[in-house]
Symmetry: C2
Subunit: 338 residues, 2 copies
DNA sequence: CTGAAAGCGCTTACAG
DNA sequence: CTGAAAGCGCTTACAG
């Protein structure tokens, strides 16, 4: 692998000049420029970014710490972030916590050692304290899909208004005429969804019975089993609000397996609008979470902090979700809404 | 951010000594060692990996180029690779081609500039020529899920025996008594699956009618629409072999929507065994692809090449898939097989 | 066991 | 517009 000095020697100039034609930071006479370019071509020179990073104190990398890629929510967000980062010539260093805070902390430690330019930490893939400590070293840190009220105004957060998601889903079910509404949620991470549900219910003069609140773990299986438990109750619910689409689809399978019809016997609404939701059986009404928008905003916030090198403003962004009505809550919807 | 020299000054030693206690490459007297460690602690020193990389000519990073994360196949493989890389203190640089060979080439170019220690390129996320050129620079390159017969024995490939997948699926359908077997495949990427299908069929004295071979694009939608086309034929097929689970699930929805029963009227078998397959309606018989094994083998092959620094043996690994029978082909299967 | 020195491949003022 | 020199933060023989 040839170096900048090789190129310089061949072009009969000094390293500084080669660097100048490469970066364009300082004007170079056209003739020399062409000689340098020819030399670069001749030896197949490719700048060593490691050396450049050391000299400049900048690596053009962004660390992305997420809990898992198996969850389509995160894989979609990561995909969009990679795309955007690429257009700015930044590379993504991917780190997965697998739901283990210790592993998240270890990752942050290592990524800091690699001198990444900024961090995005999603879905509580690390402890808030560790994130705050990290930010103390001066590198921009953006939190996203963050469930820790204590963090507000300490670090910038780009988040989804999940409370609104709960409200939208519940309001829709009420409009469909349901009053016996049960819910399957992963608490505490989905507690704001529950807040939304309960505020709308209580405004309608309804209280959520204790046995209508089931604890899931966001998996398909838990949706299935918690729905089975609901189906075993004295008074069956008429509608289900699931904390995410995956649990909603598990619940739908349980309802199908029990020989009940959706939405005639029991209506189901989820949260996320993952791709599979539109093709579920029946197509699932859900609260759409703007994942692409989330990804773009979170990434542009770190990029801005990196490039401007200004003080990183602690400002929270809350992205509003919206309802997508399909056949799991309303029979007469046309095929179009897919 | 304090440096190794800061630590050295505080500990009253030279940089070399600090480096020696850090790396353990050379023994250090216990007393000095402790003074150094105390100094490290005192200033909160964290080694700069960029500088170390430059000095050592090694970055402890592996580039992973895949087409997309939206496809659960790749997100699962990437997740496992990240995990394994982490245990060896390597970091994954993630790059997505989005099915664009130009973008793949650009990524490889940039990653080479970052001096990653090795490359894994999956699912034809880059042109074979570009991969070969890259390997020419001396860094280990492993191909995986690679559909280009011309590549064999030029670069090491870790792959799945998809021809066997086609054979297993077809043999199973024949055993279930079906002879009118249609298929939905994304060609040319899934052409070896077609080879497997056809060899088993012709051994059984069956030829695949031209209108029983439908071209999909691996998406749920294409599974749905191609199945609709099959349902419009004079002579309906009795069984469907879909190139992946996603198309299989699209086909199942089309069959359901047409008022036909699975597997009584039409049996369906897919390929992949994605998580959703077990929870499809009905649970999908499919050929399980060992993604975790694939991930581990591909990664350990690059790691071995990096660490041993031996000549990289061009050796192909072909991982065998296996059949998982569920209710989409056989009614009487118990709940256990989930 | 520890220090002095050179080197990894770039960038960046500073002269000229 | 171009060159000489120092520096980024580490590692690595080589002396002692």
């Amino acid at each position: 692998m040839s170096t900048l000095n090789d190129v310089a020697r061949i072009a009969g100039v000094t390293a500084a000049t080669v660097s100048n034609v490469l970066t364009g930071r300082v004007p170079v006479r056209e003739a020399t420029r062409e000689r340098v370019l020819a030399a670069i071509e001749a030896v197949g020179y490719r700048p060593n970014m490691v050396a450049r990073s050391l000299a400049c104190g900048k690596t053009y990398t962004i660390a992305l710490l997420v809990p898992s890629l198996t969850n389509p929510f995160f894989s979609e967000v990561v995909e969009e972030m990679e795309r955007v980062a690429g257009t700015h010539d930044y590379q993504i260093l991917l780190a997965l916590s697998n739901g283990d805070l210790k592993q998240g902390a270890r990752h942050l430690e290592r990524l800091a050692g690699r001198r990444v330019d900024g961090f995005i930490i999603m879905g509580n893939a690390a402890a808030t304290d560790d994130a705050v400590a990290l930010a103390g070293t001066g590198k921009p840190v953006v939190l996203s899909v963050w469930n820790d009220p204590a963090t507000a105004h300490i670090l910038p957060i780009v988040d989804i208004d999940f409370r609104l998601a709960g409200e939208l889903a519940t309001r829709h079910l009420l409009e469909m005429g349901h009053r016996r509404i049960a819910t399957i949620l992963e608490l505490p991470v989905q507690s704001t969804r529950l807040d939304g549900l309960q505020s709308v219910l209580s405004n309608a003069g309804i209280t959520l019975p204790a046995d209508y609140l089931r604890q899931g773990d966001s998996s398909f299986e838990s949706g299935y089993y918690e729905m089975e438990a609901l189906l075993a109750l004295e008074t069956l619910p008429r509608a289900i609000f699931a904390g995410n689409d995956t649990m909603a689809m598990g619940a739908m399978l349980a309802i199908n397996d029990a020989g009940k019809r959706i939405p005639t016997d029991i209506a189901v609404v989820g949260v996320d609008d993952i791709m599979e939701a539109a093709y579920a059986h029946p197509p699932l009404t859900t609260v759409h979470i703007p994942k692409i928008g989330l990804a773009r905003i979170a990434l542009s916030r770190v990029l801005a902090a990196i490039e401007e090198e200004a003080v990183f403003p602690v400002m929270d962004t809350l992205i509003a979700p919206y309802l997508v009505v399909r056949q799991s809550t309303r029979v007469e919807v046309t095929r179009q809404s897919r």
